[in-house]
Symmetry: C2
Subunit: 260 residues, 2 copies
């Protein structure tokens, strides 16, 4: 095996699209770790969750082809990008999948709506060690200096230690200077929900339309083992996620029901 | 309180769209149980998972307004429909959310891609007792007789017993005659993944495009406590799901890592 073949193969994607600053920051940070293949959505795909494209066909264009770095844009969702990489582009399973760096938090139940975490969970379903990174700043021109520092530290640990076969990491990084970060905290997913408020407007034809807006309602703000608590206190939060949604505690009680 | 106000308020949605036969079968089955409000996607939304619409505004049209039955179509995803109902249309929390009846299985890890289950999980995040029903037949003209029988039995039990606050049910129904069904089985989510094969074609301009195809790869076909096993043996499968993706077993081992 040559030196080049020994390098880890790292698949990179995101949900903000191939032009996003967070993706570029991620690629720059990961390049020293191995051979990088990027398959990212051609257009922003925020809020696309684990969606796949079934109504229209997918298209794929290679846009960068350098030593140890290939970048493709895919006209689909983040999960489409991962599937396209696994099943069409890559000749072997990647050693790592990294998604992000997302512009905005994916802590707590936001993991359900997130295209960034959809891609990481898809890696996890396919038994690839996977990480989703998010910075708590929605701005397209956010400063990724602190995020890059922690991407490097956490990626090195995952490559060294591996992850259990069906576990991926949801990493959120506070939008503060590196020197102000309190540390890294392993957390559980916070409970909570988005309280939506629909902004109702009227178009020039007199018809109503609605913009989805809202704010996160934290139902356990004082629980110190959650990601929301850690981020609020200036920590980088890491939540290990798995893809088994079964609520085992409930199986026994459902078996008592009288299904007649 | 009048008799009418005492009736359970049931929110209904799906991912196959407002015209789907499975939705109509569901509405007919649920009408005797209470006041029904349907908010369903205007267009089919299979594979849309937990996606929300953020790039374009939503529109909503009332299409049926009968005694105890209102039907709206929403130009968005299944989760958009649920959010629109909770935050714009309904004046109180529904007693139950029912999604489906999906044309096709949502067993095992298909729960991640499913718009039907995205809607049910959204109900669950909002602490509404929620059920997703799916029939193992993709045909638009499928026979829902068996499915309706089990929708009735299971809905009655959920209305009687309730569900833990953050648990919803993923119910899959085999495509066989009612008399041939082996019974109802409470299961865990099967492990497995979709093995994709991209069908590559060339358009009239000479450019490649890809259709997503594939088959489900069951990584534990002999495990008799899973939904796939139960369905294969002719049972209706019920998997209780929760929305906490945390892998608690991994928290301890991650705390041993040396994040330097």
């Amino acid at each position: 095996m040559t030196e080049r073949e020994k390098k880890p193969l790292i698949l990179v994607t995101n949900d903000d699209g191939v032009e996003a600053k967070g993706l570029k920051a991620l690629i720059e940070t990961l390049r020293p770790f191995g051979k990088i293949v990027v398959v990212a959505p051609a257009d922003p795909q925020s809020g696309m969750s684990h969606a796949i494209t079934v109504k229209v066909p997918l298209r794929l264009t290679k846009i960068i082809d350098e030593q140890d770095l290939s970048v493709y844009k895919c006209y689909g969702t983040p999960v489409d990008c991962v599937k396209m990489a696994f099943n069409h582009l890559l000749t072997r399973k990647p050693d790592l999948l990294v998604s992000g760096i997302n512009h905005g938090s994916n802590a707590s139940t936001s993991v359900f709506y997130s295209g960034t975490m959809g891609a990481a969970l898809e890696g996890c379903i396919n038994e690839i060690p996977s990480i989703g990174f998010s910075l708590l700043n929605l701005n397209h021109d956010a400063d990724f200096t602190t995020a890059r520092h922690y991407v490097e530290i956490i990626t090195r640990q995952v490559l060294q230690n591996g992850l259990p076969k069906t576990v991926c990491l949801n990493v959120n990084i506070p939008d503060i200077e590196t020197s102000k970060v309190a540390g890294i905290r392993i957390c559980r997913q916070n409970k909570g929900y988005w309280q939506e408020e629909f902004d109702q407007r009227t178009d020039p034809m007199g018809k109503h339309y609605f913009w989805l807006t809202g704010y996160f309602h934290n139902t356990e703000p004082d629980a110190s083992d959650t990601d929301e608590w850690a981020l609020d206190k200036g920590y980088v939060s890491i939540v290990p996620l798995h893809t088994d949604l079964t609520c085992y505690d409930t199986i026994k009680s459902l078996n008592q029901w009288n299904f007649q």
